[in-house]
Amino acid sequence: MTGKRALYLTGVAVICAWVLVPLWLLAANALGGQPVISAWPKPLIPSAFSFETMLEFLAIEGVFRAMLIGFEVALLCTFFSVLLGLPAGYALARYSFRGANAFRLMVLLTRAFPVGILALPLTVGFIRLGLYDTPLGIALMHTALALPFAVLVSASLFQAIPRELEEAAWVFGCSPLQAALRVVMPLALPGVSAVAIFAFVISWNEVFAASVLSARNRTLTAYLLAMLSESPLTYQFAGALLLIVPSVLFIYLVRKRLFAMWGIASR
């Protein structure tokens, strides 16, 4: 029994280390300043712990603005993905219609075109439409990337909700829309938040399309890509930390829903 327990604890420790050590290295380097970056082994808690580098980094012309644009794009992408993905997923799950399977395939196929090939025509098209170099334009591109996931995940999500629950709602006085809002949505919420998180993270991390489709109004990733290679190490670490924090925060905020979805009792 104790052997099993030791094995279990070792496993937990390894998995924690797998996630936490890189994060710790990054945070230590970003927050500890030059002395920590050149030190080895690194101190567990940096002696001169300060947000100075981070603040300096944020003060660099354009970083803060790029972060805001990144947020705007990611939130727009999340919004569009949920808005378009949920109804499409619902239709796939509940109705049998001609071409349902073809539609599933087509949805996946959008990921089969390398963005690199699409870059030039997209840029030209976006310039013509006035979408080039706007957050909305980048968000639309990111939505195209996130949508296959949003559609297919919400389809399986709705499939897992028994149709009888909806029918019961209809019988007991709900219109189809009311049934969807009062019965289906509360049950689908954990999965919907997973869809939202994924769309957000895809957009936040995406760099190629964001770089190609913007010039002055860059998202943080695109901005950092252009800028960091010529920056000192301290700034590179600060930039990396800044990129990671929102995703981690976002997942932390919705962890309850994620846990509920993965069948772990939510706390």
Binding site: A169, W170, V171, F172, Q178
Partner: protein, 332 residues
Amino acid sequence: MAGIRIEGIRKSFGATTALEAVDLDVADREFVALLGPSGCGKTTLLRIIAGLETQTAGRVLIGDKDISGLPPRARGLAMVFQNYAVFPHLKVRDNIAFGLTMNGADKAKIAQQVESTASLLQLGKLLDRYPAQLSGGQRQRVAVARALAVEPAVLLMDEPLSNLDALLRLDMRAELKEVLRAAGTTTIYVTHDQTEAMALADRIAVLHSGKVEQIGTPSDIYHHPATRFVGGFVGSPPMNFLPKDGALIGIRPEDIDLVSAAEGMEFRVNVVEPLGAQTLLTGTAEGQMLRVALAGEHAIAAGTTLHIRPRPERIRWMDAATGQALPARTPA
């Protein structure tokens, strides 16, 4: 409260016909069971009444109002689903109140109604639990309470007991009968279990491949089956059928008596099943497989040859080709 009338309901899915011209009249406060094997169309009929399925032809009337074109929410009926379909994200209280809330009843009325239906179904202590914290039987009660709370004109039940284990099913069956009699709601109850139909219903409609074979009281259905199918489906063990004079005679296993050698035909016993209240004999008579049910316990060994005689007044004559009941004849 209201009666319900089904007129010429037909339903086809593409080329297959699920229901062909079904007519059924259910009186106010009556309990009618739709009985039939799986695939006979009984659930489809119930879903058409509920408005969850659209009929190909025909109409459904509640009271004197044609509800055929109305969505489920406007039909004024309630339904208990086979897998309960209790809303997992709502407490028992809110589940029971769901229909009333949707219909815009005022708070005091809802509270009072929830209270009274909950006590009727012994759910008083469970009102603040979630369905996941309930047993199957308790969830079943919640589903029934949710349906009764809206005081529907018609209550539809789709095999509500089939997911319970055998013992619980027996308890729930008796409880259901009591509760529904107290509520006095017109009820249509779908089941494939003939004992359930016999035990609960005022009248039974036996369905077979999309057609109503017979409608009648449980006793009528049991003792005077209109077709060979009804005789063979209702009753456990089912009716025996023997060819005689170009027709078929149907005789229930318990309507056969042991007699002396001079009076009856030879019956060779192959299997003896002592069931306590009954002794069930399976054997052959005149080359035909036959079941005989004797009341009480009997020391009969397999392989014995006995003599039997069907009670003449219990014999049902049927057409050998169509399976339809024929007028009684005097046996030769």
